[in-house]
Amino acid sequence: MSNKALAAGLGNCPQCHKLNVMHAEKQACSRCLTVFSTRKPKSLEYTLAWTIAALVMFIPANIYPMMVFYTLGKPDASTILEGIAIFIQMGMLPVAIIIFIASFVVPLSKIMGLFTLMYNAKRKTKLTLKQQDKLYHVVEFLGPWSMLDVFVVTVMAAVVNLGFLTSIEVASGITYFTLMVVFTIFAAESFDPRLLWDNHQKHHHRATKTNQEYNNKGEQ
């Protein structure tokens, strides 16, 4: 199990996947010249910062209205949750469920997932490696899909533009929502999945008391 590139003094280039002999903490890849480290430097710190930023943006994204609906000149602004309530009142339950999942449950669970991943990379947890791995892939996959709501509002605002009769205008909530999505993508990008495996191995080694190798690494 200790057959890791890090222990052998080798590092994988994150861009072109070329295996490099590591001479320093940070060096340029011999093939594509990208400067990289064996593990993303300060990965957890960056991930934590981006995730907190995303969580902060989640609050105004839900307080401010996403779009303003004008019928005969009368404005009607609605936030994400109000919009869902309107759909339920109109009896369109399937649409309400889809919107609720896409624009409320998914962003929130993505932020929660990132916190779980960070905890898993640091402490010993009950989740198996396979589950952690799956979680990482789900968070990574969901990244672009959270933009769905932004695109829907954009298209609606552009198309529904019949002057005095009906028109839709974009409101400030969507800006915060966009920023939140971009921040979570940055968070997922800065997370290094190899930390999960390192951490697993560290705890595994502790159990069999052969962590001398790691202690030496720490002292250097």
Partner: protein
């Protein structure tokens, strides 16, 4: 010298960092990590020619997809339709610069730069004109992969069509068809592009 042969005949998993011997694949095979099961690399059939074809098609389709109206609605004798460019100009006019920038980048700028990059690299390799600048291009291609959101925009159009269908009469225009075809091309590029072989090709040519 020993180190050099190790580096060229081994591969490390990008997900769990396991060190593995590099397998030699025949066309159409994938190499998976034995420790965590992540995809290491794959060898694809006729990758260069297919990538050139798909990238040219995608770049041509960008113009109708961006300029032709996607959907339109009519109610009480009034009619309005909008293209992708209209979406962005309306956002700018209503001073929503952040979203306008995001929509422009994720649906137009980044996907088109990605296709141009794929086309440029593949044609350079096909006509044996490998230059050091290709390294920069190919690195940026990897970087842009996450930020291409044509597929999400297309889903957004579908969802808004569903919402609008209860509101007014709706028409579908050429922009939507071009968008579907563009989406197919943009996705196919990542399927046909053989990143591992291209990197090895670049390395071999630049060493000489």
């Amino acid at each position: 010298m020993r180190n050099n042969s190790v580096v060229n005949h081994m591969i490390a998993c990008n997900q769990c960092d396991s060190l593995l011997p590099k397998p030699i694949l025949s066309e159409g095979q994938d190499a998976l990590c034995g420790c965590c099961g992540a995809m290491l690399f794959s060898k694809k059939k006729d990758a260069i020619n297919r990538t050139i074809a798909v990238a040219i098609a995608g770049l041509v389709l960008f113009f109708p997809a961006a300029l032709l109206p996607i959907i339109g609605i009519s109610a009480a004798g009034l009619f309005n339709d909008a293209s992708l460019i209209d979406c962005i100009t309306i956002l700018i006019n209503s001073k929503n610069y952040v979203i306008a920038f995001a929509v422009f980048m994720f649906t137009l700028a980044i996907p088109s730069v990605r296709l141009i990059t794929a086309l440029y690299i593949s044609s350079c390799i096909k006509f044996h004109r490998v230059k050091p600048s290709l390294l920069v291009f190919f690195r940026s291609y990897h970087l842009l992969d996450t930020w291409t959101m044509v597929h999400v925009f297309f889903m957004g159009v579908i969802v808004s069509m569903y919402k609008l269908s209860s509101l007014a009469d709706m028409t579908i225009d050429g922009g939507l068809f071009s968008l579907v075809l563009l989406l197919i091309c943009s996705t196919l590029v990542s399927v046909t592009m053989d990143e591992h072989s291209i990197w090895e090709e670049l390395e071999k040519s630049l060493e000489q």
